[in-house]
Structures are given as C-alpha cells and as structure tokens.
Symmetry: C2
Subunit: 93 residues, 2 copies
C-alpha cells in the first residue's frame, strides 16, 4: 500500500483502523467500535505504515484524519470519556 493510499483512506473515512488479520489486540479495538455503533474502515496492513506515524505496531487508529495511536490509546480515551466526542465530531457516530 503506497503511503498516499493510506493518507487517502484517512482523509476519506471518519475512522480508520490499520490492522493485521487475526490479531486479537486489533479485534478488541474493533469490538469496542462495534459495541459503540461506530462506522469505521479497516485495512489489513501489508507494508509498514510506521514511516508515517512512527508506530510500527497494529492496531493503528485514525479518527477524523488525526492519528490516535494503538489499542492502549483508544481504550485510554474511552476511559477518560474523550473517545465518543472525537467519534461524534468525525461523524462516525
């Protein structure tokens, strides 16, 4: 996946989760989004996305075009009740 494609995905989808197939960590972020009723796009990573966000791990989440981080970051936002407002602003909820 060329970097420009990754950037297109992020700018044209409210929420994007870069993941790897059958990764439980990624699944728990997607389960959280499913439970909240979020509209999101997933993309199975086949090349390093790290040169763009400096994060080579998955899941790698973008909301409203902004880089959020991994599983820990998403759940930390959830705990501090900042996740839903971000999702609402991005029209994913």
């Amino acid at each position: 996946m060329a970097m420009s494609k990754a950037q297109d995905l992020v700018s044209s989808n409210a929420v994007v989760v870069f993941s790897k197939t059958s990764c439980s960590y990624c699944n728990s972020v997607m389960k959280l989004f499913n439970d909240l009723g979020v509209t999101y796009k997933t993309y199975e990573l086949d090349v390093e996305i790290s040169q763009w966000t400096n994060q080579r791990t998955v899941p790698n989440v973008f909301i409203g075009g902004k880089y959020i981080g991994g599983c820990d970051s998403v759940f930390a936002l959830r705990r501090s009740e900042k996740l839903v407002p971000l999702l609402t602003d991005a029209k994913a909820l």
Copy 2:
C-alpha cells in the same frame, strides 16, 4: 516443527507457551508468568500446532504436560485461583 518436537517440549518443560513473535495477546500471558515468577519455555510457532490440540490460535499453553488453552483460559484459571496450584504441581513455581 514436527509434532513430535512439540510433544517433546511439552513433556520436558513444566510450562510451554506456543506463541508468535510480537503478538500482544501472547505477551500478556508471558507477562503474567513473569510477574508470578514462573519458569516457562516459549516456542515461536512456525507450523500449525492445531492438529494436536484443535486450537489454531496463539498463545497455546501447556502446564505439566497438559493442554491448558489460550490467553482466556490462563486468565480464567488465574481468576479462579487454580493457576498457581497447577504451576506449583508442575514445579514451575
């Protein structure tokens, strides 16, 4: 890895965790074992172990030669305080 090698690992190590590199799910099982001070052996899976335990996912944990299951099973045993006795019986603690 031939199945016989997997069986040798399980019969000659008190605790064996079959895992995949950089899998966070597997890491959380290994972190639990580190925190408890368990002696365990890890093996990065490169062929399917599923024909032996019918579990194709990782982590795949054996204690005292007995198939325990995955991450969920290990933490369930921990919650029901059955994990430490099993580890002690297997002389891993």
